[in-house]
């Protein structure tokens, strides 16, 4: 991978704002009594990529809507620098660039038009927007799709166009909701570089995802949310600390076999289809290996894997639940 092709940044990219996103004790309780989020406190510094991780329905998108001024929290405060984003939703929208998780309304816009028009709507002047769009199309190697309309683009390319729409005019706060969905592995790497470069240019980047493996490599810090609450927060290393010295055991159960009882030195297994995951202390590795070998030999397990724990195991421990694990491992191992 070459980095020498990076064009020189133009004037408009050299902006810096000393503006952290400070979310303090935010909560939303609907009139129906449903609590969408509860006492959420997060700070995203400029220059930082901050991951917001959590299963579907954890309240990630609710929080994003609150930051964007689309949804009013019932308690707490949200500031960007010294600007109160709850009191000034219009300011929130001017200061934030956003890639939504869902569809982008660009069916009949050519990729290039969409990127430049959004860049101008975000206040960029025509020349700067054009120069930056040139750069982004080159960096993400998307030149061949420049003139295609949204309807003709594949899901992954459309996602990347959406990223460019959010990145074309630098904003103090950038919110990216599942930016890598459907993106091919090669461009995924380019995309991560560009996300990092947004932060290097001074934006605070809030990255919403449920892809733990990617987040572990890409974010500076992260918060794990579940049921509308922050259940853990810190650097990936700090969050894994509790699982340090532990190993992870993954087994695949034979199609007709029952999942056997796990010995007490193995943590309660989480089962996803035919697979089950557990963690154990390093000193128990030898007897765990004996146990799993025996069961593989007698045909209960098809195969097994013993390895180091990752942020995923921390995530599963914190979030738990089979349905959540399914989304998690389906994504992590399938893609």
């Amino acid at each position: 991978m070459s980095t020498a092709t990076t064009p020189a940044p133009t004037a408009i990219q050299r902006r810096r704002w000393d503006a952290a996103l400070r979310i303090e004790h935010v909560e939303k309780v609907y009139a129906s009594g449903i609590r969408a989020n509860d006492d959420i406190s997060i700070t995203v510094e400029p220059g930082e990529v901050f991951g917001l991780l959590g299963p579907n329905g954890a309240g990630k998108t609710t929080l994003v809507s609150q930051v964007m001024g689309l949804l009013r929290p019932t308690g707490g405060s949200i500031h960007l620098g010294d600007i109160d984003l709850i009191e000034e939703p219009e300011a929130a929208r001017q200061l934030t660039a956003y890639l939504p998780q869902g569809e982008l309304p660009i069916e009949s816009l050519r990729a290039r038009e969409a990127v430049e028009l959004i860049g101008r709507i975000h206040g960029g002047d025509a020349d700067a927007v054009r120069a930056r769009a040139d750069q982004l199309f080159e960096l993400l190697e998307l030149g061949q799709w420049e003139r295609q309309m949204g309807a003709e683009l594949s899901g992954g390319v459309k996602r990347l166009v959406g990223f460019m729409m959010a990145a074309v005019t630098p904003r103090p706060l950038v919110i990216l909701d599942e930016p890598t969905n459907d993106v091919d592995p090669l461009r995924r790497r380019l995309l991560w570089q560009e996300i990092r470069s947004l932060a290097d240019r001074g934006s605070a980047v809030l990255l919403v995802t449920h892809n733990v493996l990617e987040a572990e490599r890409a974010v500076d810090r992260l918060a794990i949310v579940n049921d509308g609450r922050v259940v853990a927060q810190g650097t990936p290393g700090a969050l894994k600390a509790e699982d340090r010295g532990r190993l992870r055991l993954e087994v695949t159960v034979e199609p007709r076999a029952e999942l056997p009882a796990f010995p007490p030195y193995l943590a309660d297994p989480i089962r996803v289809g035919r697979r089950a995951f557990s963690t154990l202390l390093e000193e128990d590795a030898a007897r765990a290996l004996d146990w799993v070998r025996d069961l593989t030999a007698d045909g209960t397990f098809e195969e097994f894997e013993l390895g180091a724990t990752s942020l995923e195991d921390t995530y599963v421990r914190l979030v738990g639940g089979e349905a959540d694990a399914e989304a998690l491992f389906g994504e992590a191992t399938g893609g």
């Binding site: 902006r15 704002w17 964007m68 009013r72 816009l109 709507i121 206040g123």
Partner: protein, 271 residues
């Protein structure tokens, strides 16, 4: 001097956040123009088809009068043709515009569009501008075809522009408000159908108010459709409307202002 250049070069100079905030009429107008572009590009695939359909609708409407009334007199034909200009304007505001918003809610792009850094009313007026360009040709075509077919004697006053603007504004502000305010876009679709049905069949637009039951006549005194027909008819012909147009213009202006005020509230409200 040197340090200033160095600071700029290394991009370490912190910019005050407030310097990023844009306000004022220039910002509003720039946002409006960009959103007009956004709307046009968004509709570009359907645009030729929609305009063609509007032209056919207009011509069809004009020729259809001859079927409703056998051999209409010139006055009858003029009455129908001028009344008919109101229908596409009402359709534009009460059906087309709200359905765009409803569609955005259905396909999930609503939050994106309303997260854009554009004043909400600039967004509304941009939509109104583009949909007027799409929706109004049928009114003009209906008039032109009727004038040719029935040999009508139109006398178009420049005030017709004001009249059309007011009519479109009232209808669109009402349509825009309820499409935003109603959480379920499918309800919006149903209401648009109901409204347009009521406007076409039970409003004194293409027929005189006297044909309605008295209570409905009284209600219509304060509702937009009858006055919309009045101002259009009065600015397109000479002598087809008795009395002054002023009360109708005044009432429509009040409706437009009230509807805009409500629209502004509804579309800036947060859940």
């Amino acid at each position: 001097m040197v340090s200033a250049i160095a600071a700029q070069d290394q991009a370490t100079e912190a910019l005050p956040l407030a310097s990023e905030l844009r306000t004022g009429p220039r910002y509003w107008f720039r946002a409006y123009l960009l959103m007009v572009r956004w709307e046009v590009l968004n509709q570009r695939l359907m645009l030729p088809l929609m305009v063609a359909m509007q032209v056919l609708l207009g011509a069809g409407m004009a020729l259809g009068f001859g079927l409703l009334i056998d051999n209409p007199t010139q006055a009858e034909a003029a009455y129908l043709a001028t009344g008919a200009t109101v229908i596409p304007m009402m359709t534009l505001g009460l059906v087309m515009l709200p359905q765009v918003v409803a569609q955005q809610k259905i396909d999930g792009t609503y939050e994106y569009v309303f997260g854009l850094p554009v004043p909400r009313m600039a967004m509304y007026f941009a939509g109104l501008t583009v949909w007027s360009l799409i929706g109004l040709p049928s009114a003009a075509v209906a008039l032109a075809v009727a004038a040719w077919r029935y040999d009508l004697d139109l006398s178009v006053s420049p005030l017709v522009v004001v009249a059309a603007f007011l009519v479109v504004s009232v209808a669109s502000a009402i349509g825009y408000s309820f499409s935003h305010g109603l959480p379920n876009p499918r309800t919006t679709h149903l209401i648009t159908q109901l409204l347009i049905f009521v406007v076409i069949l039970f409003s004194p637009v293409s027929f005189p108010a006297e044909r309605l039951p008295e209570w409905l006549q009284a209600v219509h005194t304060w509702l937009p459709p009858e006055h919309a027909a009045n101002v259009m008819r009065g600015t397109l012909t000479d002598g087809l409307v008795d009395g002054s147009l002023l009360p109708s213009f005044a009432l429509l202006s009040v409706w437009a202002l009230a509807a805009w005020a409500i629209t502004a509230r509804v579309i800036t409200r947060r859940r």
